[in-house]
C-alpha cells in the first residue's frame, strides 16, 4: 500500500474520501458532486497561494536579468516580500471614488480572477487527474479568456473616469485582436490529436511532442498568449507610464491586488496550457505507473515555459498599440491561417498515403516558415527603398542626385 499511495496520491485520497462520504449515507451522485466541489476549492486555493512564490521568483529573476538584486531584506533571500506586500494591500483602505457603479466596480476584479483560475479546470495535472474531462477543453480555454475581457471592460466602464474607459477599450481591442490567431493555432494540436479534450491531446503526444511536429504553431501560440496576458512586449495595457494605469486606475488596495494576482497567475497558466498542448503535459519516463512523476514533469515543463515568458519580459521593450495591431493583423493572422491549412493538408496526406506524419508536418512547417521569411524580407526591402527615395526626394538640390541602392 505504501508505494501505491506515494505513487498515486490523488487516486488514493479520492478513494478514501469517496468511501467516507458514502459511509455517511450520501448517494453516489451526491458524493461525487461534493468531491468535485472540494477538489475545485483545493485547486483554486493552491493556485492563489502559489502566486506568493511566483511573484517573488519573478521579481528576483527579473532583477538578476537587469543586473540588480531584487528583494532581499524580508526573510532569507527576500522570500517573504510578497507576504509583506499582501499585508500592506490588506491594510489599505479600498477607496471607492464618487459616482462609480458599485456592483460592477466590485464584480470586475472577481471576473478577471475567475477567468484565470477557471482555465485550470480542464488541464490534466497527472494521468487521470483532470478537473473535468470536457470534450471541448480547447474551446473552453478560449471561452474563459473571453470572460476575462468582459471583466476588464466592466472595470474601465464603472470607474467613472474617461481615461480608465479609454484604457479598457484599448485593452479589449488588443485582447480581441490577438484571440483570432490564438484560436486558429489552437486548432493545430486538435487536428494532430483528433480531439479537443486536453487529456486526449496529452495522450496522443506519445512518440513525439507536438512542439516538434508543429513548431510554428507553438511559436504563434506563445506570442499570442503573451499578448493575451498583457505581458511585455505587449504590456501597453497597464504599463506604469501609460494612461495613468489603464483600466485599473481607480482601483486601490485589495481590488487592485486581485488584478495584480490575476496577471501573474495568468502567466503561469499560459505556461501550463503551452506545456499541455505542445510539450506533452505530464508525459515522461514512468509517468503512467507513478502518476506523481507525471505531476512533477508537468510542473517542470510549466515552470520552463513560465521562465521563457519572464525572460522575454526582461529583454524586449514595449511596442506601441498601432505596431501591436499591425503585427497581429498583417503578420500573425495570415501566418496562423497558413499554418492551419498546411497542417491540415500535410497531416491528412500523410495519413492517407501512409507517410511519416512527423516528417511531413515538419516539412510543411519549414516551407511555411521559409515563405514567410522571404515575404517579410521583400516587404522590409520595399519599405527601406521607399523611405530612402522619400528622404532623398525631400532634399532641395540644384543638380539631379544619382541614387545608389
Amino acid at each position: 500500500m505504501g508505494w501505491r499511495m506515494i505513487g498515486n496520491p490523488f487516486g488514493w485520497i479520492q478513494q478514501q474520501l469517496m468511501t467516507l462520504l458514502t459511509g455517511w449515507g450520501l448517494s453516489q451522485a451526491w458524493a461525487a458532486a461534493v468531491l468535485s466541489l472540494v477538489g475545485a476549492v483545493i485547486l483554486a486555493t493552491v493556485l492563489l497561494v502559489s502566486t506568493f512564490f511566483l511573484i517573488w521568483a519573478e521579481r528576483k529573476l527579473l532583477a538578476r536579468m537587469q543586473d540588480r538584486l531584487g528583494p532581499n531584506r524580508v526573510g532569507p533571500w527576500g522570500v517573504f516580500q510578497t507576504v509583506a506586500d499582501l499585508v500592506k494591500l490588506l491594510g489599505k483602505e479600498i477607496v471607492t471614488p464618487a459616482g462609480v457603479d458599485r456592483f460592477i466596480y466590485y464584480l470586475a476584479p472577481l471576473l478577471v480572477v475567475m477567468s484565470v483560475v477557471g482555465i485550470w479546470a480542464v488541464i490534466p495535472l497527472a494521468p487521470g487527474v483532470q478537473g473535468t474531462a470536457l470534450d471541448v477543453g480547447v474551446l473552453y480555454v478560449v471561452a474563459v479568456g473571453a470572460i476575462g475581457e468582459l471583466g476588464i471592460l466592466m472595470a474601465g466602464y464603472s470607474s467613472n473616469n474617461k481615461y480608465a474607459l479609454l484604457g479598457a477599450f484599448r485593452a479589449v481591442a488588443q485582447l480581441v485582436s490577438y484571440e483570432v490567431p490564438m484560436v486558429l493555432v489552437l486548432l493545430v494540436p486538435t487536428i494532430l490529436a483528433g480531439s479537443m479534450n486536453l487529456e486526449v491531446i496529452v495522450q496522443q503526444q506519445s512518440p513525439m511532442w507536438f512542439v516538434l511536429v508543429a513548431p510554428l504553431a507553438c511559436l504563434i501560440f506563445l506570442i499570442t498568449s503573451l499578448a493575451e496576458n498583457g505581458r511585455a512586449p505587449f504590456d501597453l495595457l497597464e504599463a506604469e507610464s501609460e494612461l495613468v494605469a489603464g483600466f485599473n486606475t481607480e482601483y486601490s488596495a485589495l481590488a487592485f491586488g486581485m488584478f495584480y494576482v490575476a496577471e501573474f497567475l495568468h502567466a503561469f497558466t499560459a505556461g501550463a496550457v503551452i506545456a499541455t498542448l505542445f510539450l506533452g503535459g505530464w508525459r515522461g519516463p514512468g509517468a503512467e505507473t507513478y502518476p506523481i512523476l507525471g505531476f512533477v514533469y508537468f510542473l517542470a515543463k510549466t515552470l520552463v515555459m513560465w521562465f521563457l515568458s519572464l525572460w522575454v519580459r526582461g529583454t524586449v521593450p514595449r511596442i506601441r498599440i498601432d505596431q501591436m495591431l499591425a503585427f497581429n493583423w498583417k503578420v500573425l493572422t495570415p501566418l496562423a491561417l497558413a499554418v492551419l491549412t498546411t497542417t491540415a493538408l500535410a497531416d491528412k496526406l500523410a495519413l492517407e498515403l501512409g507517410g511519416n506524419r512527423l516528417l511531413t508536418n515538419l516539412g510543411a512547417n519549414l516551407v511555411v516558415a521559409l515563405v514567410t521569411l522571404a515575404a517579410l524580407r521583400a516587404y522590409a526591402r520595399a519599405q527601406r527603398s521607399k523611405e530612402e527615395s522619400q528622404r532623398i526626394g525631400g532634399l532641395v538640390t540644384a543638380a539631379p542626385v544619382s541614387r545608389h541602392h
Binding site: W30, I104, V176, G394
Partner: protein, 184 residues
C-alpha cells in the same frame, strides 16, 4: 429532486430573471450586462442538454463577441452615464396583450407535441456528437451549402467593414517634403 433538476431550475430562474431585468432596467449598459447574464444562463442550459460544444460556442460567440460589441456600441454612441428615460410608452397595455397572447399560443402548441410529457431518452455520446456535427457541415448531402454561404457572408461583412473604416486616400506629395500620413 436530483442534482441535475436542481441545477436546471437554478439556471432557468437565472435566465428568466436576467431577461426581465434586461427590459426593465433604466440604464443602457446595465441592460447589456444583464443580457450577458441571460446568455450565460442559456449556455448552462445547453450544457445540461448534453451539448457542451454549443454551450462553449455560446459563451465564446455571444458573450465574448456579440455582447462586447453591444457594450462598445452603447458606450461609444450615447452619453451612457446619464441614460435613464421613461420605461413605458402610452400604449404599453397593447404590448402586454400581445405578449400574453403569444405566450398562450406557444404553450398550446408545445403541449400538442407528442412525447412532451414523457421522460427524456438516453443522451447521445457527446464525442460522437461533435464528430457528427463536424462531418455534417462538410457532407454534400447535409449542410455544406449553408456553411459555405455563411462563410461568404462573413467574408463580405469583413471586406465591407475594412472598406468603411479605411482612412482617406493619401494625396501625392506635390511640393511637400516628408512622408504624408501613416499607412492604412
Amino acid at each position: 429532486m436530483t442534482l441535475l433538476q436542481l441545477i436546471f431550475l437554478a439556471a432557468a430562474a437565472l435566465t428568466l430573471g436576467a431577461a426581465v431585468m434586461v427590459v426593465t432596467t433604466s440604464r443602457l449598459v446595465h441592460a447589456a450586462l444583464w443580457l450577458i447574464l441571460a446568455l450565460a444562463g442559456v449556455a448552462v442550459l445547453f450544457a445540461l442538454l448534453d451539448a457542451p460544444f454549443l454551450a462553449i460556442v455560446q459563451v465564446v460567440v455571444y458573450i465574448g463577441a456579440i455582447a462586447i460589441l453591444i457594450i462598445f456600441a452603447a458606450m461609444l454612441t450615447r452619453r451612457v452615464m446619464q441614460d435613464s428615460g421613461r420605461q413605458t410608452t402610452r400604449t404599453w397595455w397593447l404590448g402586454l396583450l400581445a405578449a400574453l397572447l403569444l405566450f398562450g399560443g406557444l404553450v398550446v402548441l408545445v403541449l400538442q407535441v407528442p412525447g412532451f410529457q414523457a421522460a427524456g431518452g438516453a443522451a447521445p455520446d457527446p464525442q460522437a456528437n461533435l464528430i457528427d456535427l463536424g462531418r455534417s457541415l462538410v457532407d454534400v448531402n447535409a449542410f455544406i451549402l449553408p456553411f459555405e454561404l455563411a462563410s461568404v457572408l462573413l467574408l463580405a461583412a469583413l471586406i465591407g467593414a475594412m472598406f468603411v473604416a479605411r482612412p482617406e486616400s493619401r494625396k501625392p506629395p506635390g511640393g511637400k517634403s516628408g512622408t504624408p500620413g501613416g499607412e492604412a
